[in-house]
Amino acid sequence: MELLSGADMLIRSLQDEGIEYIYGYPGGAALHIYDALFRQDKVKHILVRHEQAAVHMADGYARATGKPGTVLVTSGPGATNTITGIATAFMDSIPMVVLCGQVASHLIGEDAFQETDMIGVSRPVVKHNLSVRHPEEIPEVIRKAYYIAATGRPGPVVVDIPKDMTTPNERYEYSYPKKVKLRSYNPAIRGHAGQIKKAVDMLLAAKRPVIYAGGGVILGKASNQLTELTRMLGYPLTNTLMGIGCYPASDKQHLGWLGMHGTYEANMAMHHSDLILAVGARFDDRVTNATEKFCPGARIIHIDIDPASISKTVEADVPIVGPVDAVLKEMLALVKESKDKPDASALASWWKQIEEWRAFHGMRYETSPDVIKPQEVIELLCKLTNGEAFVTSDVGQHQMFAAQYYKFDKPNRWINSGGLGTMGFGLPAAMGVKLTHPDDEVLCITGEGSIQMNIQELSTCKQYNLPVKIINLNNQALGMVKQWQDMNYESRHSQSYMESLPDFIALAEAYGHVGVRIEKKEDLETKLKEVLAMKDKLVFVDIYVDRFEHVYPMQVARGSMKDMWLSKTERV
């Protein structure tokens, strides 16, 4: 057997785990590891400009590929800078391993230079965390970390590595474990057959069914099964913000997404349904509105890999714990062989009702002859990229417009921080996607507030040649905050203006990129075409959009699913 130092074992373990890229930033406690990294060329390291961005990059990579991302940082400030990124990944169940340097074991607890209890600090926002206590454990710890991160309900795992675990001249036998066995961690591999049967019977007997799909369908790689089942049944489907792309948006059975800024028809259908099939969704407060008023006539079937997500906020009538792909496959088989068929006449009148709702509102906004509407920018981008781009977003109105008006037919292409709502996510996430999808169009839809939270990464983009397109929907305000102030605080715009915006064009150019400003409506299409034609350039597109636009529909706070504002003046 080979003898390797702890640092070399760590890097070898990453190679054996099949890791192509790690995103990180060096510092004292991680220097042995960085030296081991230097002496090989299989694992490529991307040097960011702020550790938070390293985590979002790993996250973007994970969301686009379905594989766990990897981050490497030093102890203390390096580690604490990752926390927002880790919490972002945790809330959206994104698989990721974050390797953190730590001060040498004998210094732990002494308030040593750059010492932070990263295990303690990260605990509430990780799926699990592990410390290395002996260099020999490194391969096993790494194997465990990836196994835990990627299986069951995925999530981030932090590994804390004291500096003396990676000392160069202490060598140990290296072998990478093929398997891990954890007696206390056994994620379900299939659903309960009796429950699945019961669910299928209920599904086939429903008169006003709705399928409500969440991010779990994408994480669980179950889009095909979901699509097949939905088409076979002919039932309407709505998905969450996190589930966008799990079912083709251009399909007529798709009602758009639901919840706070969901479509009128999706929210109406949910409210009036008699049966909800929830798949990999978690009934969160941005979806349900007031839980006590949630879908009064509906019985609920809930499929999820995480038992704690079931009946947490809304009680399920038929809980099914299991991987969504396996459960849907079994359901499909049962539906096929069942002699019962969906009630055709009930379904026809249900669809008639839904089409009326769709015709009554659908997604619409008022255009203006001279001002650029943010919605039309997104619609145009969708058209110009054939709805095939990877789109990352930040957080705010621009995020909602992007999710509403870009039509995704495929999973893993809409990439946003849905659970934590982290401004600053968009650009680094886009970089993580672009790195591994160089031939695909990658758009970062952002706002002038959000983009400034990780703007330093323009420098990383230059170093690694990452020609993403940054679409800055510049409304010269923290638009979403301002919208809430308009609606709830009589337009008292407390701290929601950005009074000294930088010249984004000059800024992009200073970093060595291209900047394009669009102020006139008549320039919009030609300029966007020019931008998209610059395949090998990062282009920062600063688009001046209507400063007064609000995002609609918007559910009325503490109401039911069907209580919505449809515009500044129409309330239903």
């Binding site: 410390s131 007696r183 206390s184 038992p307 009946s311």
Partner: protein, 163 residues
């Protein structure tokens, strides 16, 4: 309702803080918490008493089960069970109080485990109500110090919580 949740936990550094962290993070109550290694030194046994609606208790057990280091758990209050808590109490004991305290200790089947001319130290085991009852009986005026271990519990009969 009050519940007693009994947990088999990997006996590893940090495991206990994860359990405690979970309770504060998700706004669950902890009334008492006891923990010690079992006959299998790789495992600890942890008993936590908590209160909450059925829905909250269901979430507590599910969230606990999600912790990687939690091997198994049971809500003892779902079946018949035995619960015990140990208490050490220092009582002011002078003059006629001494005989009175001795009698009360006997009634509660406790023991006087340390004596000075003015103080008795009493040891008492039982369920939490019994320990409360003793304090009431001797009267809080004479109580100098109370140490309680918190509840430990085990199911009655054949049922065992093991690997």
């Amino acid at each position: 309702m009050r519940r007693i949740i009994s947990v088999l936990l990997e006996n590893e550094p940090g495991a206990l803080s994860r359990v405690v962290g979970l309770f504060s993070q998700r706004n669950y109550n902890i009334e008492t918490l006891t923990v010690a290694p079992t006959e299998d030194e790789t495992l600890s046994r942890l008993t936590v008493t908590t209160t909450g609606s059925d829905k909250v208790i269901e979430q507590i057990t599910k969230q606990l089960n999600k912790l990687i280091e939690v091997v198994k758990l049971v809500d003892l209050t779902e079946g018949s069970h035995i619960e015990r808590e140990l208490m050490l109490v220092k009582l002011k004991a002078t003059g006629s109080q001494r005989a009175e305290i001795k009698r009360t200790v006997d009634i509660f089947r406790g023991q006087i485990v340390d004596v000075t001319s003015s103080v008795y130290t009493v040891q008492l085991a039982g369920d939490s109500e019994k320990l409360d009852g003793f304090i009431q009986a001797v009267g809080t005026a004479g109580v100098l110090e109370v140490v309680r271990t918190g509840v430990s519990g085990i199911a009655r009969g054949e049922k065992v919580l093991s690997l």
